[in-house]
Symmetry: C2
Subunit: 116 residues, 2 copies
């Protein structure tokens, strides 16, 4: 429609009508997920869960970190539904929440490694 | 190797030998990328670039935002190599840096939308 071109400036641009931002709520949610992932220690923890589900004592042992720090990170990651928890007897096992999360982490690590 | 099982605790866990964190430098870089993506306004801007490359004046017009705010966001995103810039005549066109970035944003938006 010609009306959509009314804002077209003197220099040549194609119509803007094809470009719309994603709605704010979706962007807010996604930003929250990214903020939770934007911490080196939380990412190291998540990189373990790329292999398989683990309980808190395993994570603490592998990272040689203290239990309360690891628990706090898991709490943050659960709040953003980045990790899921599953109880089995005395233990709670943590895993990546879904395939999107797995892809997010794999892609960011790949992107980081590409630009030396 | 049996030595790898020496830390196995009394309760039943499979061996930890298969689980190693990604190296810290890779996690630091990935965390930097996630922090740059962890902002609602920057994500709205990036959601435009999912359609096609755009110049600053187009972005400013579509988002109905001011030029200096948009320029600052683009600067942050370029520093983390999330967007790339290409000069054509008087204009600088911005685009998503690569397929990893595109997948990151698409996955986070999909993950955010899944959990209503």
């Amino acid at each position: 429609m010609p009306d959509e071109d009314q804002e077209l400036e003197a220099h040549e641009h194609t119509s803007r009508a094809d470009v719309r931002p994603v709605e704010s709520l979706a962007c807010e949610r996604a930003a929250g997920i990214f903020r939770a992932l934007g911490d080196t220690n939380r990412l190291r923890l998540l990189s373990l869960l790329m292999s398989r589900e683990l309980c808190v004592s395993e994570i603490t042992g592998i990272l040689d970190d203290n239990l309360s720090a690891v628990s706090q990170r898991l709490k943050t990651l659960r709040a953003e539904r980045i990790v899921a928890a599953r109880r089995e007897g005395k233990h709670v096992f943590y895993s990546l929440a879904d395939g999107h999360v797995r892809d997010l982490i794999a892609n960011a690590l790949a992107h980081g490694n590409e630009h030396e």
